[in-house]
C-alpha cells in the first residue's frame, strides 16, 4: 500500500512515515489475501476527534460496503488512502493519536458507553421513523461534545454539539433511576426469606433434635417411627426377603435399626442402601438359577452382592 497521505488537509503533526506515534488502523481481514477493497469515503477527516469503535471510513468489497471502526479514542492525524483507491487486508489506513492522558481515555470510553444508553433511550421513548437520524446525530454530537470539552480545538463543526450535553445528562439519570427501585426491593424479601430458609434447613440436616422443636404438628404424634422412615427403600427389600425367606427377615431388620439411629447423615444411608440393593443382573441370575441371595456373600461396596459373587455361588453349588 502506498504511504501517500490524502491531499485534502495538511497534517497537524508530521511524524516520520514508518513509525507510528499513535495507533495504526489497518484494513480488516478481507477473507483472502487476493481480495481488494475500495475505499469509498472517509467519515472522519484529519483532525477530527474519534471515539473508540467509531466508524472512520467506509470500504467496498464488491457489492458489499462496510465501515472500519477506530480501535482507540483520540484524534485522526493521518490517512493513507484516498477515496476510490484499492486496499488489501492488513494495509495501513490511518493513524489515531490517542487522547493525551489515561484519564481522558477512560472518560471517553465511559462516555461512549453512556452514549449508547442515550441513543437507545431515545429509540425507546420516541420510537418514530426519524429515530435513525436521531441515533446518528446523537452519536456524532455526543462524541464531538466529549472531545470538544476534553481534548482538542474544534474541527469541522458538527451542529448538534451543544445539544448533546443535556441529552447525555438526561441519559445518565435513567440508569440510576433504574437501579434504585431494585435496591429498594431486594432487602425486604431477603430479610423475610432468610429466617424461613433457616427454619427449613435445620430439621432436614439435623434429624432428631430439631424435629422436637421445629415441626411440632407432625412429630409429637409419631416421634419413634420417624427415624425408621428415612431409609425408605429398605423396607421394600425387607419385604422381598420376606417372600423369599421369612426366617431371614428378622436378622436383617434388627441390625438396620441401630444404624439409622446412630448415623443420621448421608454416609450411613449409602452403606445401608448398597448392601440391600441388588443390581438387575444379580436379580436375574438369582431368579434364573434359583439362588437365595441371602446365602450369597457380597464382596462389593458395602457388602453389595456383585454379579461375580452370584456366579461364584452358582459355580460353587454346582461343584458340591
Amino acid at each position: 500500500m502506498s504511504w501517500s497521505p490524502s491531499s485534502e488537509q495538511s497534517l497537524p503533526q508530521e511524524a516520520p512515515a514508518p513509525s507510528f506515534a499513535g495507533v495504526e488502523l489497518t484494513v480488516p481481514d478481507l477473507g483472502s489475501p487476493d481480495d481488494q477493497a475500495t475505499l469509498v469515503d472517509w467519515t472522519k477527516q484529519i483532525g477530527d476527534p474519534v471515539a473508540a469503535d467509531e466508524p472512520i471510513c467506509r470500504l467496498a468489497l464488491g457489492e458489499l460496503q462496510f465501515e472500519v471502526r477506530s480501535t482507540a479514542a483520540g484524534t485522526l492525524t493521518r490517512v493513507f488512502a484516498t477515496p476510490g483507491e484499492g486496499v488489501r487486508g492488513g494495509d495501513s489506513l490511518a493513524e489515531i493519536a490517542p487522547a493525551a492522558d489515561g484519564s481522558e481515555l477512560a472518560s471517553s470510553e465511559d462516555y461512549a458507553s453512556s452514549e449508547d444508553y442515550a441513543s437507545s433511550d431515545d429509540y425507546a421513548s420516541e420510537g418514530d421513523l426519524d429515530s435513525d437520524a436521531d441515533y446518528s446525530s446523537n452519536e456524532n454530537a455526543a462524541s464531538t461534545g466529549d472531545f470538544g470539552s476534553d481534548v482538542a480545538p474544534a474541527s469541522d463543526g458538527e451542529p448538534a454539539r451543544t445539544g448533546s450535553e443535556p441529552e447525555a445528562a438526561v441519559a445518565e439519570s435513567p440508569p440510576e433511576a433504574m437501579e434504585r427501585p431494585i435496591e429498594r426491593i431486594e432487602p425486604e424479601p431477603l430479610s423475610e426469606v432468610a429466617p424461613l430458609e433457616q427454619e427449613r434447613e435445620e430439621p432436614f440436616y439435623a434429624g432428631e433434635p430439631p424435629g422436637e422443636a421445629g415441626e411440632p404438628d407432625l412429630e409429637p404424634e409419631q416421634p419413634e417411627p420417624e427415624p425408621a422412615r428415612e431409609p425408605e427403600p429398605a423396607p421394600e427389600y425387607e419385604a422381598k426377603s420376606h417372600e423369599l425367606d421369612p426366617e431371614l427377615a428378622e436378622p436383617v431388620a434388627s441390625p438396620r435399626q441401630p444404624e439409622t439411629t446412630s448415623d443420621v447423615k448421608a454416609s450411613g444411608d449409602d452403606a445401608v442402601n448398597w448392601s440391600h440393593w441388588h443390581s438387575p443382573v444379580v436379580k436375574m441370575l438369582a431368579e434364573k438359577h434359583g439362588v437365595d441371595l441371602s446365602e450369597v456373600r457380597g464382596t462389593g461396596t458395602g457388602g453389595r452382592i456383585r454379579k461375580r459373587d452370584v456366579i461364584a455361588h452358582i459355580e460353587g453349588a454346582a461343584r458340591s
Binding site: S32, S279, P280, M284, T301, R304, R306, K307
Partner: protein
Amino acid sequence: MRPKYRGVIPWITYVDALTEALRVEMRRDPTVLCLAGASSSGVQRPTDELVSEFGPSRVREHDGGPSILAAASAAASEGMRPVCELELGALGDADAGALAAAVSSGALVLRLVCGSAAGGVSARGWETLLPEIPELKVVSPATAADAKGLLISAIRHPDPVCFVESSDLYSSVVDGVPEGEHVVPLGEARLVRQGTEIVVLAHGAAAVAAERAAKQMPGEVGVIDLRSLRPLDRDAIVASAKETGKVLIVEQPGTATGLAASLVELIYEELPQYLDAPVKDLGITVTEAGSNGQWTQSVTEACSELVAF
C-alpha cells in the same frame, strides 16, 4: 490400477497418517480439495506437506472458520469433495449456522480439530454445534491406522462426515498403518481390550487414556474405542455391556453434551436386566486432560472403583 493393499508402514504418527490419507485420496480423485485455516498454533498439520505436491489451488488456506465453511459449501454443491480443517476452539455459536449450511450442501468432510493446542476446547462441547440431521456421520479415531482408514472412507462417503481429531494425539500416537487405500468402514467400533469386569467406552484421546488405564488392570477392564459416534456400533456396545454388566463412559473434554446421554440411553434401553451397576460417565475436566498422566490416573481410579462396586 494401483494395488489396493501392499503392506504396513511400521511406524507412523497420527498426523502423518492423516497426511497419507489425504494424499491417497487427492491422487485418486481430482475433486478432493483441502481447505485449512491459517496456521495459528504452530503444531504440524496434516495439510502442510500436501501444498508442494498438489499446489495452493487444491490445498487452500483460509483465514477463519466462516470463510472455510462458505468455501466448502460452495465447493460441495458444485460436486467437489472438500475436506475442511476447523479448529474447534475457534468456532463459536455464530458458526453453528454456517456449519449446518455446509453440512447440508452435499458430501464433504469436516475435520474438527480439538485438543489443547487447537485453542483449547469449548466448555459446551462441539456436539451442540453439529446439526441433528440423520445424514451426518461423526467419527473420532484414536489410532494412526484408524485415522487413515476413517479419513479415506469419510472422503468416499456420499454423506457429510465430521471427522473429530485431537491435536494432542498428532505426534503422541504412533502405530503401524496399512499402505495404500486402507479403508475402515464407518459405524464399526474397535475392540481394544477384552475384560471380564467392566467395559470402558471411549473415543479419540479418551480411548488412548482408557487403554493405558486398562493395561494396569489386565483381564478386568475391557476397552471399546467407539471410532464411529454417528452411527454408533450398537451391537458391539450392547454385547460388551451385556457381558460385563458394568459400563464406564470416558469422554474427552468438550464432548460432555450428547454422546454419553445417547450411550446411556442405548444401554438402558437394550439391556436393563444385564446391568450390575449404574452406568458411570467420567467427564474429564480440561485441566486434568492437559496432563496425560493425570487423565489416565483418574480413569484408573474410576475403573477400580467400578470393579469393586
